[in-house]
Amino acid sequence: MDIATLAFSALYQFGDAFAFLVLSACGLAVIFGMMGVINLAHGEFIMCGAYVTAATVHAGLPLPLGILAGTLVSALVGVVVELAVIRHLYDRPLDTIVATWGLSLIATQGTLIMVGSTMAGVGTPFGSFQVGAYSYSIYRIVLFGAALGVLAALYALFNWTRFGVLARATIQVPHMAAALGVDTRLIYSLPFACGAGLAGLAGGLYAPTMTLVPTMGATFIMEAFVTVVIGGADVFLGTAPAGGVLAVVKSAMTSWQGQLFGQIGLLVAVIIVVRVLPKGISGFVLRERT
């Protein structure tokens, strides 16, 4: 087997792992990393996005519009959850664990009762291509592209727009932002909706490739939390390098010894990073900069 085939296969596996980590994590990076709300219902926002996407595609919409619908519905649900529950718990971060865990149980069981134990899949678009002895799914490349796109969009949103500056100011020193005339209540609810929408987007993007069941969110949540924890508070400077590091470790270990060792390697890498960089990768980068 020649070097080019091997290199491409390693790159593809890295991109695949990177896309999964980043897309799982970016919604949580906003809600947990930035806002400090420990959102255990993150997986259920992903499930919501996937279900809405599949339902709209079954109803006849093309897949991209279905994914958009999934994203928007999740964001709307995020607004409602923020208004009804999360808003009252910003000073009590530990209580958000209980509240969002309860929400996640209600969402999983509610979906099971109302929609049933499974939902028919929609099928992966685009087919496959061949490099050397291996064939690859084109859609996985699309997922990698989507992960890069989401990261770029988040960077632009939080660094280049007025909303991004206000949101960061509000979250860092809320009373000072309020004193300067910022409507902090509104600013708090928008990032939450944004995070929920990103989770819905991840669900929508992965819906064609996965089994659709009420518990599907659980398969994302571990990857999402470890990526955000080692990434730290900054959405872009944290999630992107964290996703990169973990994807290298995970894809290399999986290709060497199989899925079990991929997971072990991922968690060992997390322990090492948390031990060496307690404020996460972004904390390290930002300290160097100042």
């Binding site: 296969s9 593809y12 596996q13 695949d16 792992a17 999964f20 999983t108 069981q109 099971l112 049933g116 134990s117 499974t118 939902m119 028919a120 899949g121 929609v122 099928g123 992966t124 685009f126 087919g127 496959s128 002895a133 291996y134 064939s135 690859y136 799914s137 084109i138 859609y139 996985r140 064609p208 490739t209 996965m210 089994t211 659709l212 069941v213 009420p214 518990t215 599907m216 659980a218 398969t219 894809s251 999986t254 290709s255 199989g258 899925q259 079990l260 991929g262 997971q263």
Partner: protein, 413 residues
Amino acid sequence: MSKSVLRGLRAAALTGTLVFGSSLAQAAENPIKLGVLEDQSGDFAAATIGKVHAIQLAADEINKAGGIMGRPLELVAYDTQSDNTRYQEFMRRVLQRDKVDVVFAGFSSASREAYRPIVDQFNGFAFYNNQYEGGVCDGHMIVTGAVPEQQFSTLIPYMMEKYGKNVYTLAADYNFGQISAEWVRKIVKENGGKMAGEEFIPLGVSQFSQSIQNIQKAKPDFVVTLLVGTAQASYYEQAASASVNLPMASSVNVGQGYEHKRFKPPSLKDMYVTTNYIEEIDSPKSKEFYAKFKAKFPSEPYVNQEAENSYLAVYLYKQMVERAKSTKREDIRKVIALGDVCMEAPEGKVCIDPKSQHMSHTIYLAKVGADHSISFPKTWEDIKPYWLGEAGCDLTKKDPMAQYTPSNPPPKP
């Protein structure tokens, strides 16, 4: 002191009356209690809600026809949530508090091995109505599901003859997957083939890009998929979108998780499954069962193999209780030892093997077509669960309450 003695006497008198009273009522109304511990939520729910419904269907039919020896059948059902500790909790509850006569319990082998010691400890009586990796030699258990000598000894030689002798196994990483993979290895070797590779996937994993590439690298003639749970079922869609295009063989897919209904064609094309029942089986008995099921549960997504196992288990229990004229396990086992506990099930005739307390089955080879329609290229009638008996498990003589595997057979006497 005299006071407490008096209280004791009074209590004894009272209980005496109660016992007397209940033995009078027993003949008329005292129900036979059947505990149902199945996963009605969580990762396994898709495959197991139908089992609960099947038990309800059978119980309704039996009660309408006058119950068991004139006693109605009462179900005590708990949702075990695809969680092994729930099984232990609820098994203690049904045996100690609800005092059920028999328990129907378990989907995953991990859950069965979690609750089995509790059944043994409290001297209970349990039915495991699920296909599994085989080898449980325990007088407290009756297994109505199919086992490897029924599913793999038929399937693997068929596949090797049709597609070739290079076999790759992709299995769930827990006792079921590991022991089933051992069976596949053994049968492939006996038939002169070789293992192109093996990978064990932790439960809950849903991303398979690297595993797909490993399979392509090993270039097998077909892949044995022993994937369990809804997360792992994502493999088929991902393999299809990467154009792996290899035939697949399985003892768990289609017959449990109806993947051919859940995924868009053609992701399960050329999947071969050995099962003792699925709703597509075209026989009068099967059609009748399917019609009854759909009449009672019109929104049931699929009537799978484990639903049929659970349904026939209720009727087998009825037959055994009526022949033993007792619900006591030891009396029922005397009936089993006669070796003629059989019934006409939706799949065909089934019998309980007295040595292992497992069941003989009709095994259907189901093939999934490109449009996800099912055809049956081959059927094996009356395949016996012979391995345990031949290996040395004989429950009519000795009850070791253990699980054995090909590499860990029963000790020779």
